[in-house]
Symmetry: C2
Subunit: 434 residues, 2 copies
């Protein structure tokens, strides 16, 4: 019993992020038990905030409702909302009903913002100051609000109607002479984000300007909240995971924690999509069955031709979609890149096609087979490069995610085209087939 | 001339990140000209710091050497080092020789740290305070050093021998009563990074603990510098790009700005690697040429079987390598995931294999062909799932990057195995081949 208490005290002295890690490793019962202890020690809210919202929501449901709502009230509002979003509607309602009217309204308002907008990312707990104050006034206000305002390093200047007038750095306030007016310290044309702005755009702003925090405003420029850089890091990580998953046709909802049954359910549609693409290509091969019976060497080499087309097309598509994700490709550059990829496709295609053509000639002793193989490879690689640029550009032009299903569609095209090119060229060139 | 001056003044009032964007769009001559103007306006250092180091290094070489070294001296040391690393050795030496002895030593020391370690990321300009000071003393020191210390929100407590004793938040100092001792305000067991720690580990620390800045220490715990979160965002982006590129066998050095010639040079080794893998698989098909002449339907369906194997293996490998990159997979979990993927492979393989088997039976009217196709698909998908877990686990176990060449090796194995399985099974089962 005593040793248990020592372990617990040791654990409570850790950083909430470390306690969260321990909590994630425990069985449901043990985790609920530890969470209860954390609650009594006043550390439950910070620990849950460090967990994945899905996990923390599951834990919350195992707690007494009154305890759960108390923990919720102690969390930063942006973290509390992330957790609430993962709860079943009835549990969410019950927890909200047990909060103070102020807290319940604040969280309900936040829940109304879509999770992929600035509103879904911000916390409304922001320090707003009037420009008529002095540096000393500001410090007095900040000192009073210290508890509530968390890890704030900026305050924001607003007028009587809460319109954003500029940013105040806590550092500038602290280092200024106490009697200086905030009007002299304020940075007026500060960057702000609109509450309905996409989180990916917000992440790009943070990346470009190296901010630690940005104010969030509504359409009338009224201050609604603040987004800090730690939330943005999560967005950048999630975005990257999404892009990586798309490239390999992995469902975006999957992770290493997903149960095998959910994994099955999530992956099967992608695999059946790939199967349909594969059968389409098989249909093309099927048309040329008699050609294969006469020249079986075509069946030997056909996989190499579609493989190279797919590989070079994926190289291109990957560079283009990543460039778009990092905001490096505007409209004009998109078309210039098409020219570059055609040129690359020509040179790559000549080199790769020449190599395979020579190998087939050396193997089978049939020069025209080598020629047919070389030309099929060249054309397939050139078209693959063009498609690798065009699919992302077209998807973006119609307002879709450039990375969506690119790899599936691209390899379907290079497969069908590669097979068709090879068999048609062989039919035209090879004496055995004329 | 006058309108030019107005445009210039307008430009100079922009954020350095925006000026950097404009600078990147100009021709070399125009850019050098604008940079000269920026220099006269005192904005050159901040603008260059916002550019890609490769680009800014190229621009620097077009400037008068004295001007270039003055700009260098005005840059934050971590940015200056990034730029110096991209310069030819002789230019670098000449610029360093024109700096004050203090600046030259500082930058030379920093250059000695590898770019992928904490030392390569940190800036040495850090505010170190003694715990015997009061809050007011600290503010006085910070006020004096305001210029030099950039956007600092933390100070660090050190003893006489510069050993790190803890972290001081500027916010806590500013909001404390002026006579309070820093000893009461310091956070003692603060997280610090070792100067030789890998940048990816540093990024994980920032991600986990939501820090804005972390102190960097040597093996004896002496304070060397500080890393801020904006530098870490760049690391996270670069890491993600690297992982995405690996997945599609894109050379890590390439981007949308790469010239077609460099792209060719960089991509060809990958494409020839893929070609070798493709020829290996073709060799297997070649062994069974006579089988194909007898049952051409095998050539029709063989692409579908290796395609599904490759696709399901890549799904698995992608989830595993991404999970590793995010630090979610320890040794024990790795083996549990192998079990899960085998189970998934079995179920997926039965479903996909059954579907394709039935389609082939319906198409060709040969039940045993359907059976051979189904079993080949099932086995290939199961093995693909196992390989998808094992390749990253093995690469990590031998200290290599789990994502290195995974996709190339994985599809090579599933191609060779899929072809071999299909033809051997067909040889055993089909009456036409017995």
């Amino acid at each position: 019993m005593d040793s248990e208490r020592i372990v617990l005290r040791e654990l409570l002295s850790q950083d909430p992020a470390d306690i969260a890690e321990v909590l994630g490793e425990l069985s449901d019962e043990q985790a609920a038990e530890l969470l209860h202890r954390l609650y009594l020690g006043g550390a439950a809210a910070k620990t849950l905030a460090e967990m994945d919202p899905e996990e923390s929501a599951e834990l919350m449901q195992k707690l007494d409702r009154q305890m759960a709502s108390t923990i919720l009230a102690r969390m930063d509002p942006d973290d509390a909302v992330d957790l609430l979003e993962e709860l079943p509607v009835d549990v969410r309602k019950e927890l909200l009903s047990r909060l103070s009217r102020h807290d319940a309204k604040l969280l309900t308002d936040l829940l109304a913002f879509p999770a992929d907008t600035a509103g879904g990312l911000m916390t409304p707990e922001v320090v707003a100051l009037s420009l008529s104050m002095t540096a000393q006034d500001a410090i007095d206000v900040l000192r009073q609000r210290q508890e509530k305002a968390g890890t704030v390093y900026y305050a924001y200047a607003v007028d009587n109607a809460n319109h954003l007038q500029g940013v105040l750095s806590l550092r500038d306030i602290a280092l200024a002479r106490p009697d200086r007016s905030l009007g002299e310290l304020v940075i007026r044309d500060a960057v702000a984000v609109r509450v309905d702005q996409d989180v990916e755009d917000v992440a790009k702003l943070f990346d470009k300007y190296d901010f630690f925090a940005l104010p969030v405003v509504d359409a009338e420029d009224r201050l609604l909240g603040v987004i800090t850089v730690d939330d943005v890091i999560d967005v950048i990580r999630e975005e990257a995971t999404e892009d990586i998953y798309r490239l390999a046709s992995v469902p975006s909802a999957e992770g290493v924690d997903t149960s095998w049954w959910d994994s099955l359910r999530l992956r099967l549609p992608w695999l059946y999509g790939k199967l349909v693409a594969g059968l389409l290509a098989a249909l093309v091969v099927g048309i040329f069955e008699q050609t294969i019976v006469k020249v079986a060497a075509l069946a030997v080499v056909m996989g190499v031709i579609v493989g190279q087309g797919g590989a070079s097309g994926m190289q291109t598509a990957t560079i283009i979609t990543r460039g778009m994700a990092l905001g490096e490709i505007d409209r004009a550059r998109g078309w210039r890149l098409l020219g570059k990829e055609v040129l690359l496709g020509l040179v790559n295609g000549l080199l790769l096609g020449g190599t395979v053509g020579l190998i087939m000639y050396a193997w089978k002793g049939e020069a025209l087979l080598g020629v047919a193989v070389s030309i099929a490879m060249l054309l397939n690689v050139v078209v693959a490069g063009m498609i690798g640029v065009l699919i992302p550009l077209l998807l973006r032009a119609i307002g879709r995610d450039p990375a969506a299903a690119s790899s599936l569609v691209l390899t379907a095209i290079t497969d069908v085209l590669g097979f068709a090119l090879l068999f048609v060229l062989a039919g035209l060139l090879l004496p055995a087939l004329r």
